[in-house]
């Protein structure tokens, strides 16, 4: 009988998440929902995100009220068909609650959930290395301008279930060294290669977002033998223009009020930009050398709303598999950058999505990354 009852529980967004706040229910008790329909808004210290329904059915019960903060795995509500009686649902809830232990979710915890500082050449990088060591070719994810490894918080945990996943803060970002050299994607690609060396990885699938996409392309030129495949998410270097307002605003904004609207350009659903996300970026920007590093990086790649380098020749020259993933509503690098690519390059466009599909359409991006790696 319980087979037709599906618990809706506090999801785990990102490796570090231990609890979340049920910001709001998006469906009411009695509403019929489809699998994948947005059920609730969940706030964590890093991000506000929607929780998509794990199954089809009727939302029979809202166990937790909006506004409540609960541990990961805690029961939020109950989905079931109309054939299930209220008594059965009550019994299910009672049993769930009596057995639930916070912090006991999914015993299969990832190898390392804390990022570590690693000396790579002359630089010190913050690196998060998760997932099984013996699960084939690892995946290296490279974030974009102004980002850091937490840009992959909704991807790394999920992908680590099947493969080794490495994320890191590029020089000038997060907690890594603020020395960005000449700030070009080519220079950053050399750092990425050195990181693979330091980790003893011969070959990796490379995922690159935005400026990190340009870095991935440069890495494919610099060391094609190290690159098993390229997944380019809203990459720089394929189109002509860039939203200079974002770049300049990101560099100059030094308070929450001025930075928040800039960060909202990154996503289609503006509500995704949480206070904590803004605060995290402000904290990063306060570090000595951070703004100088960002300025150098921006100057190396972008000028007056134009991208300085056309990297399409690198994509065409690379012999391995390439896929391109883009949000249809990208306000930073327009989706038109995905047009006119070689026919063998699969292009996925996500409707209703801005410049951060890995956050906004995490499940779909994760599926694309997994499938592509499996096929390559």
């Amino acid at each position: 009988m319980a087979g037709t009852i599906t618990p809706v529980t506090m999801p785990k967004f990102g490796l570090a998440m231990t609890e979340g706040k049920l910001a709001d229910w998006l469906v009411s008790p009695g509403d019929a929902v489809t699998a994948g329909q947005e059920l609730a808004e969940i706030e964590t210290t890093k991000i506000t995100n929607v929780y998509e329904s794990p199954a089809a059915g009727t939302l029979r019960r809202q166990v937790a009220p909006a506004g409540e903060t609960l541990p990961v795995g805690a029961l939020l509500g109950v989905l079931a068909g109309s054939d299930v009686s209220d008594a059965e649902i009550d019994a299910f809830i009672e049993k769930f609650q009596s057995e639930f232990v916070a912090g006991d979710e999914d015993g299969a915890d990832e190898a390392s959930s804390e990022p570590e500082m690693l000396d790579v050449g002359t630089r010190r990088l913050r690196v998060q290395d998760t997932g099984a060591r013996d699960a084939g070719v690892p995946l290296l994810l490279i974030h974009g301008f102004g980002g850091d490894l937490t840009n992959w918080m909704l991807n790394q945990g999920d992908l680590s279930g099947t493969t080794r996943v490495i994320t890191f803060d590029l020089p000038g970002h997060g907690e890594s060294t603020k020395d960005v050299g000449d700030g070009t994607p080519a220079m950053l690609a050399a750092v990425a290669r050195d990181l693979l060396d330091a980790l003893g990885i011969d070959r990796a699938h490379i995922g690159g977002h935005s400026m990190g996409g340009a870095v991935a392309l440069e890495l494919a030129r610099l060391a094609p033998e190290r690159v098993a495949s390229l997944s380019l998410i809203a990459p720089a270097g394929l189109g002509k223009t860039i939203n200079q307002e974002f770049i300049d605003g990101f560099i100059t904004a030094d308070r929450r009020k001025t930075l928040e609207p800039v960060l909202q350009l990154l996503v289609h659903d503006k509500g995704l930009v949480s206070r904590q996300m803004v605060e995290g970026i402000i904290r990063f920007k306060r570090l000595d050398g951070a703004v100088a590093g960002l300025t150098t990086l921006a100057k190396a790649s972008f000028e007056n709303g134009q991208q300085k380098e056309n990297l399409r020749p690198l994509l065409e020259a690379y012999k391995g598999p390439v896929q391109v993933l883009w949000g249809a509503e990208d306000e930073i690098l327009p989706v038109s950058g995905s047009e006119g690519l070689p026919s063998e390059v699969p292009v996925s466009i996500f409707p209703g999505t801005g410049h951060m599909p890995q956050l906004e359409k995490a499940a779909e991006i994760n599926a694309k990354l997994k499938d592509f790696a499996a096929k390559s």
């Binding site: 506004g67 907690e175 603020k178 030094d254 308070r255 929450r256 206070r275 904290r283 306060r286 570090l287 000595d288």
Partner: protein
């Protein structure tokens, strides 16, 4: 990034700035501690509560100066050194000792720039401990930041956590004006994640530790933590608060305070200093004058009574604002609306 105590965060800020800039020097009573003692251990104390421990060992007698117990001379010397090319960080130990050297701060350091027609720079930081809670009684427990805030020419910083302390102290040391940096002595063992690298937090920019719809709470220093605790409890009852940590009382981020009051319409101010002419009265006056139309209820101040800080714990506990009193104040301003509607 690693967990650091308030004490470690301050020590690290001093260390990193002393490494970065040879003009940064430390002075104060026992900032090294043990100079000339029979144990031959000149880094014995590192300040009376160990905040500057290890800095003498790293930077030596040319950068870290133990002083005689003689506040007027060394606080004045810090002002004079600041005006002539050094960037001194002077530790006054307990802020209550300002009585012995106020002239050097109030009439000298604070005034140089203005009275010399903009031709002086006095990059001076005076660090001092403040606050009740240790049964240190009337002469070692005061929260005298309103006294300094009152004096034009000084900047006044009250960090509310280890992260805030490190960034604000580095900012203070790099600032070209005299800065009073007040550390709540009860907080030295508080811990949180603090970046290992240097960073700065600008002055005059309030931090919102949370945002809510119902009441704005402005709190200073340790009171920010109390306000957050109160807001946590209130949220469970459906009352959401915005908590403002102004970080600096001079300059004061009046814009953020007014904006938040405009959003919530209710204001509670939590100030550990004596209630007359303190920050609570200052913020209340600001809001009464500039945001009168936004107010849905009278402004409430949560402060100690107008008494010296008592010694016995039972009295000191009565004296201090605490989360329960903040909670009650918030509920009372919420209740005011209900009364009007009724």
């Amino acid at each position: 990034m690693s967990k650091k105590s308030f004490r470690q965060a301050i020590n690290e800020a001093l260390r990193q700035e002393m490494r970065r800039d040879p003009r940064v020097i430390l002075m104060g009573e026992d900032v090294a501690g043990g100079q000339g003692g029979s144990a031959d251990n000149p880094d014995a104390w590192g300040g009376v509560l160990g905040v500057t421990k290890g800095l003498y060992t790293e930077f030596g007698a040319e950068r870290v100066f133990d002083t005689p117990i003689s506040e007027a001379s060394y606080i004045g010397a810090a002002a004079g050194a600041a005006a002539t090319g050094l960037r001194p960080v002077a530790e006054l130990m307990f802020v209550d000792f300002i009585g012995s050297c106020l002239d050097q701060v109030m009439n000298q350091a604070a005034k140089f720039r203005y009275m010399f027609g903009g031709k002086a720079r006095t990059p001076l930081v005076i660090r001092a401990m403040y606050g009740a809670g240790f049964s240190a009684a009337a002469q070692h427990s005061q929260a005298l930041y309103p006294l300094f805030t009152h004096i034009p020419g000084l900047k006044v910083v009250i960090p509310s956590s280890p992260y805030e302390a490190k960034g604000l102290l580095i900012e203070a040391i790099r600032d070209d004006d005299p800065v009073i940096f007040l550390e709540n002595k009860v907080m030295y063992d508080d811990e949180e994640d603090v970046p290992d690298d240097s960073y700065t937090i600008p002055f005059g920019e309030a931090n919102l530790t949370r945002e809510g719809d119902d009441v704005t709470i402005v709190a200073f220093g340790r009171m920010v933590n109390f306000a957050n605790q109160a807001a946590d409890r209130l949220e469970k009852e459906g009352i959401t608060c915005t908590v403002i940590d102004p970080r600096t009382t001079s300059p004061l981020d009046t814009g953020t305070i007014l904006d938040c009051v405009a959003e919530t319409g209710r204001l509670v101010i939590v100030d550990e200093s004596s209630p007359r002419c303190n920050m609570a009265t200052d913020v209340a006056a600001l809001v009464a004058e500039e945001a009168f139309d936004a107010l849905k209820a009278p402004i409430r101040r949560v402060t100690p009574p107008h008494t010296p800080v008592p010694f016995a714990s039972v009295l000191e506990n009565l004296y201090m604002p605490d989360p329960a009193r903040i909670e009650a104040a918030v509920k009372s301003v919420m209740g005011y609306k209900a009364k009007q509607e009724a």
